[in-house]
Amino acid sequence: MKTFIGAFLTLTLLTGAVIWNNIYIKKTTTDLLEACEKLPEHVPEIPEGDASDFKAAIRETRDVWERSRFLICLSVNHAEADAIDEALGETEVYYLTGDKSGYANACRALKEKIRTLRRSESLSLEGIL
């Protein structure tokens, strides 16, 4: 009976942890996408002169990401987490170097990678099968 109770508790805790993890990833990716929305749409002509909005937005995005990275990496393929790190770095570099098309592409890629992370952890018949 003790073994059964132990197994039942393990199953309950495991189910709870898995559901919590799913909710956590959903919430984190929503926060990340919201933070990404605050990034400027275009690179201004002289970025050095007016980069404060961008720097604040990218810092906020990075903060959200760094806060949750460890917990996300416990349950997500590390390659997906590395891809977001990379996309954040590229977005910053393209903005600060004034590369307009590069920045637009990097922003799109960053949002797409966040959505991919969300999709890979969301519960769907497609994902299960």
Binding site: L11, C73, N77
Partner: protein, 231 residues
């Protein structure tokens, strides 16, 4: 992880159903659920070892899930005969009162040659000697010979036999087992007296057993060379 969790659950159930449908012939020693768990555990444990990009949780979640399911399944099987029948099937009588149930053999997909082979492995050369053959739910065949062909027992021969029970290993590789001394119902002093009688020290004994009939069996260590066995 939630996908891995649900995938594990689905694969576990599918494997159990498949193994159940494959029948008893495929199982051998283990119960179906144990076999399925064994299959899956061995594969799951190695995934994060071979690829550093895969988090350990990809193995831990399914492993703990399988272990819990296995324990819960065993418990439920113990409590419910319906579930027991559903998961593990029930013993099948292949030979009943010396008559082969051909329909049951066909249902189990066992050929007569396979049955004969199984009987030979149990030292039964003639199927006509068999009164009952039952294929157990773990895939093992239990065979009961006709009384006229079964070995004569002391009871049938009206012989008075002392019950020797089992032999308790009292000394193994020069070390006394106090637990087995208690089980055999003798004291350490009695043991030392027995060794002294045979001019032996505890350290010189490789194996000393004592059965419930009070018979001692002693093997001395080869390095001592004081003889092989004494009763």
């Amino acid at each position: 992880v939630i996908t891995v969790f649900l995938r594990t659950l689905i694969i576990y159930l599918i494997l159990i159903i498949s193994m159940r449908m494959m029948g008893k012939r495929q199982i051998g020693e283990l119960q179906i659920s144990e076999l399925v768990t064994t299959f899956m555990l061995s594969e799951l444990a190695t995934a994060p070892l071979s690829n550093k990009q895969i988090p350990v949780s990809y193995a831990l979640v399914p492993i703990f899930l399988l272990l819990s399911l296995e324990v819960i399944t065993s418990f439920l099987l113990m409590k419910s005969s319906f579930l027991k029948r559903l998961f593990t099937g029930r013993p099948s009588i292949i030979i009943h009162h010396g008559k082969i149930d051909q329909q049951e053999l066909g249902r189990l997909r066992i050929t007569i040659h396979e049955l004969l082979s199984e009987l030979r492995q149990k030292s039964i050369g003639d199927i006509a000697d068999v009164e009952y053959a039952i294929l157990e739910d773990n895939g093992k065949l239990s065979v009961f010979q006709k009384s006229v062909k079964a070995p004569l027992t002391p009871e049938q021969a009206d012989l008075a036999i002392t019950e020797n029970g089992i032999a308790h290993p009292i000394i193994a590789d020069g070390k006394i087992s106090r637990e087995n001394l208690t089980l055999a119902g003798v004291s350490e002093n009695w043991l030392h007296a027995q060794l002294k009688k045979r001019n032996l020290e505890t350290a010189e004994v490789f194996l000393l057993t004592l059965n419930d009939g009070g018979e001692l069996f002693i093997v001395t260590k080869e390095s001592i060379k004081k003889g092989q066995k004494q009763k």
